[in-house]
Amino acid sequence: MAIKYSQKVIREFTNPANVGDIDNANARATEGSAACGDMITYSLVIDPETHIIEEIKFLSYGCASNIATASMATKIAKGRTIEEVKKLNPKVVTEKLDGLPAVKIHCSVLAINGLKSAIRQWEIDHGLIEMPTENRELTRDDVLETLRSVTHPETGVNIVKMNMIRDIVIDGTTIYVELLVGETEEMYYENIEEETREHLEGLPGITSATVKLTENTPLKRRK
């Protein structure tokens, strides 16, 4: 299946802004993983007084749209306060790029989540927020929040919004999530399962995650 990128995506990919690594960065984050073929590392200089992102650079291991979205995300973040950036929705990146193919929407989520992770780490380092404690009970809402970062490759919409979550069972350090999937989406099963499991295993205190896919007709779910 051919992937059609907008002219803006092509421009950001062939000539990305803010590529590199800042030596004296005071905030850093790596989002994604090599196994998924989708990874961004940000380095930032945040002014402790004004909370303005003075400098930002990125490195990427990923496809053309991974590079383009990271480049665009750094352009958006630079010169803004961390409070502003924390409120950003991945859609901002997509819009500035004149859209992304549905199968690539997850790149914009990764690009924005990476920024948020870096800011969160900086806030923890500067005592602005508390380090999440291991003994805090993980809630259903925490799980839903992380699953909002899992994008359905066919629609570009996250799996929570698509009403795919059928069951969540948290048991100590293990978690079980059941997803409703349509039979016509069979080609995406592997990706959805892997992405979901990876996000669940990233939750604090979780050591193992089980994802079960249950087939349903797409109509029942989406209407």
Binding site: M1, I3, Y5, I10, F13, T14, P16, V19, G20, T30, A34, A35, C36, G37, D38, M39, I40, T41, F58, L59, S60, Y61, G62, C63, A64, N66, I67, V103, P153, M187, Y188, E190, N191, E194
Partner: protein, 416 residues
Amino acid sequence: MASAAESTPAPVYFDNGDSTPVLPEVVEAMLPWFTSSWGNPASLHKLGLDAEEALDTARESLANSIGCTAKEIIFTSGATEANNLALSGLRAQFPDKRHVVVSAIEHASVRNLVKRWAKIGDVELTELQVDGEGRVDPDSLRNAIRDDTLFVSIIHGNNEIGTIQDLNTLGGICRERGVLLHSDMAQSLGKIPLDLAKLPVDLASFNGHKSHGPKGVGALYVRNRTKLRRIMEGGPQEFSLRPGTENVPAIVGFVKAAEIAVRDLNEVMPRVGTLTKRLADGVLAIEHVRLNGPQIGSPDRLPGNLNVTFRYIEGEAILMSLNYAGVYVSSGSACSSRSLVPSHVLTAIGLLHEEAHGSIRYTLARQNTEEEVDRAIEQTKSAVDRLRAMTAFVPEEHSERESDHAKTFYKKHDDT
């Protein structure tokens, strides 16, 4: 130094494993069947008879090209349909046989079909694992066959890594055990000599557009006396195995292309092989690269196929960089597939996901030139350099995760 006035050179097309340009002679042979002799081969008047005659001649000619008889050929819409007709047709004919065997590196049209059967519980599926270069082990086939095995299906020339299976040996085992062997030969027609009369294969699938013929046409070879049921209902066309009015112009084009490919094989393929070797030498000279599949130039590999992994970077980004530089290739990375999973062929030969993600396939054919090879090498180098300069992949963090197979390979190459 390139001057601004210099015109952009024509793109380098190294994706002949996906599709090939149709030869002018082939187009010429097709044209009359669109415009001046458009009859339905089933019609009784002159235009119908002309079309039927063209069909008979085409069938005879394809039979000559692949070493079988005309009545063993069923024209289809392509290799995907041929694969489906072969396997579903056998399943309909022998509903009591509940076990099927396929290799782990089949095309989606075989793989997805048998996986579906297995999922709904219609059959038990045995997938034959392959070695690090994609070869099926004869012993594993011997062990897989059971009394209730319906068929074995093994792709002849692999579309991704170019591995050619030893069908003589594998087919011999099937014969000993009385099991039918089907083989997807979409990639091997016109690239390696085929003589179905001598090959222990009972069914084989072909198509037109991988060897300079048109798209949307192919054929299924069904060895004499092999029983098969049709999977579509309709008229009595194609010996009642494939209903529907035959696509006469496409069939004429396909057969003409096959004829030319087979006629020129001994002249064209060594040249394509030499070009591929030149490309491989250039590309494999880049640091941290591995070759996927058998050695280049080996008789076990399709002559125009080169598949490599560039470590620390992602294949879709390489593909897109090359695309914008006018070099067209394909990739087995998850990001370049619609389903977002890496190629099952690359993982079957032992590559980790991050190794499959960095894969690029170059497939060369008769129209390609040395100058194109040199340009592709140059553009590959600059794409790889640019992407590696911005990579977030930290090799040290992943070195312990490298597959054993890859480790020995990289060691060998990193040292040089």
